[in-house]
């Protein structure tokens, strides 16, 4: 295990254009989200996605873990089996808590300085919105708030060994796609992936851990006064999100949720709007007149169940089921709930 001291990292002293913006190496960095010491499902999915395209790109997949202590061997093995080639452990006081730019930004910067990235792939529900935009701003990278990772076989590897790995994202309101190719723009791309499911464990359990010793963050810029469990914590981790119009009543949410398999989250579309807005589920189902604020990805699918002559949501839907205005009721909620069980066959995180 290599242990070295990165010293103090002060974001104000970071060069305007970071070295990684000029030197694109085929490294895929995946910041891991740990809950109760275990990597989240979307974190494992992000690693498996990295592994999937790494073969084409000739890339190395690094799992970045920020913590105040050494990693448990079982966690390292888990990350390896999910697809990581190596683990970069940013070790420092206060890094085990939820990520904020003020407390974790410098540690992530240290990891990026150690391993210059082609892509930094945040898992859904992780630190992507808290750390991703700031990291991109510091290193002059492109940013994609909710994206799919793709490998382009036809183009083949470039002469310097960098393969064509691209990210695709929606423009707002799903009007068009944007394709981001880090080789084409000659800069790294920082992205948040959708909350998918790792299809299979593809890597080996025996992988190296490099440790970066990180100094304490700048004092007093942000401090925690208190915290409580987040009732909506499962929303950004869900592969399938069902958002129900609150006008249909709480019994609609309760009855549909009663049948939903693990990983399919059924919520009141208004009451959980804040958590929905920062989530990136693979599949979203809107029931009734509910605005979908979640950013899906091009691989994702958006379904709507509308009653009467209700207008389509502003974001274009992929699948529509239109029912009479008199349809809402126990029988319908039961039918929808039972249908959701089909998602369990594929597996959910």
């Amino acid at each position: 295990m290599d242990r070295s001291c990165a010293g103090r990292h002060d974001s104000a002293r970071v060069p305007r254009r970071h070295a990684s913006a000029r030197r694109l190496l085929p490294n895929l960095l995946v910041p891991i989200d740990l809950r109760d010491g275990e990597p989240t499902g979307p974190s494992l999915f992000a690693l498996s996605e990295g592994r999937r395209v790494a073969h084409v790109a000739g890339a190395t997949v690094y799992a970045i873990v920020m913590s105040d202590r050494e990693l448990d061997g079982a966690v390292v093995a888990h990350l390896g089996r999910a697809g990581a080639d190596k683990v970069l452990l940013c070790e420092g006081a206060g890094l085990t808590g939820p990520a904020l730019d003020a407390t974790h930004g410098a540690a992530l910067q240290a990891a990026v300085e150690r391993v210059a990235p082609l892509l930094v792939l945040f898992p859904s529900g992780g630190a992507g919105m808290a750390l991703g935009p700031s990291l991109a701003a510091r290193i002059g990278a492109a940013f994609a708030g909710a994206a799919d990772l793709e490998a382009i076989d036809a183009a083949g590897p470039l002469t310097d060994g960098v393969g064509r790995v691209v990210l695709r994202r929606w423009r707002g309101r799903r009007a068009a796609y944007r394709r981001l190719d880090p080789v084409e723009i000659e800069r790294p791309v920082v992205a948040i992936l959708a909350a998918g499911v790792a299809a299979e464990l593809v890597g080996g359990a025996e992988i190296d851990v490099d440790v970066i010793a990180c100094a304490a963050p700048r004092a007093n810029s942000t401090s925690e006064l208190g915290s409580e469990p987040d009732d909506d914590a499962r929303i950004p981790l869900a592969r399938v999100l069902v958002a129900v119009d609150p006008a249909l009543g709480p019994e609609a949410v309760a009855q549909i949720a009663a049948h939903a398999p693990v990983g399919v989250v059924v919520v009141d579309g208004d009451g959980s709007a804040a958590a929905i807005a920062v989530s990136a589920p693979e599949i979203v189902i809107a029931i009734g007149d509910v605005e979908i604020a979640a950013m899906g990805t091009p691989h994702g699918r958006l379904g709507a169940i509308l009653f009467g002559d209700g207008a389509l949501p502003p974001r274009a839907v992929d699948v529509l089921w239109r029912l009479p205005a008199t349809a809402p009721g126990t029988e319908l909620w039961s039918e929808i709930g039972k249908a959701l069980s089909a998602f369990a066959a594929k597996g959910v995180s």
């Binding site: 510091r138 084409e184 810029s221």
Partner: protein, 227 residues
């Protein structure tokens, strides 16, 4: 304390003065702070045709409205937008900057971080409550790591707003007419360093997806899960 609410999104309907939902949430918090006696300013980068959000903010009770005159912000990357708005924010003098989580056009949510970097300000994403304000700090509520956290953030700070008051706070009616929208021109020598790097947005591709109509819940799920 000077509170600036940054409108990033172009209006959903250019024919009508409207606010995107993300901007409305940020404005809601700004007006609540205004009710506590803080100076509030609405800021937009865009053309005069896109200034409807500023007119609405003035009508709702912000003290000032400032437009950074720019031809086409929709094709501009977030680094440039951040630099552009940071120049304006230095002119205005901002202690606390509030923005929506993400804009409606590109939907990235990265410009606020670029603003914070250029201002040397703290950056906190996904704020749901601004609970209290004291000299030099602001208390906020955010979610992260399975926790709902109350944080004290030192100013200056840039906050992106994920949730807000259901309705805009009503301020006492202004004596006299609403102030005019102030304009900061791009011809400003300090602003000419701004460069547009449209390639950072990515290559635009058409989205040719139709709507599949189904007649049962099972068919809906099957169609959504199809690969």
């Amino acid at each position: 304390m000077n509170v600036v609410v940054c409108f990033r999104a172009p209006p959903p309907d250019p024919e009508v003065d409207t606010l995107a939902r993300a901007d409305l949430l940020a404005l809601g918090h700004a007006l609540e702070l205004a009710a506590g006696g803080h100076q509030t300013t609405a800021l937009l980068g865009g053309t005069s045709m896109e200034a409807g959000s500023l007119r609405l903010a003035l009508a709702a009770g912000v003290d000032r409205a400032v437009r950074v005159a720019a031809d086409d912000m929709t094709g501009t990357d977030f680094h440039t937008i951040g630099q552009l708005l940071a120049i304006a924010l230095r002119r205005i003098g901002a202690d606390l900057v509030l923005t929506g989580v993400r804009s409606d056009d590109e939907g990235l949510g990265a410009a606020p971080a670029a603003i914070a970097r250029h201002l040397g300000a703290n950056y906190v994403a996904g704020v749901e409550e601004i609970a209290a304000v004291s000299a030099g700090t602001v208390d906020v509520v955010v979610r992260g790591g399975g926790r709902k956290r109350r944080l004290r953030v030192r100013l200056p700070a840039v906050l992106t707003i994920a949730a807000g008051p259901a309705t805009l706070a009503q301020r006492p009616a202004r004596a006299g007419a609403a102030p005019a929208i102030e304009v900061i021109p791009l011809s400003d020598p300090e602003a000419t360093v701004v460069r547009r790097r449209t390639e950072l947005l990515g290559r635009l591709e058409p989205a040719s997806r139709g709507v599949e109509t189904v007649t049962s819940a099972a068919a809906l799920v099957a169609a959504l899960d199809r690969r």
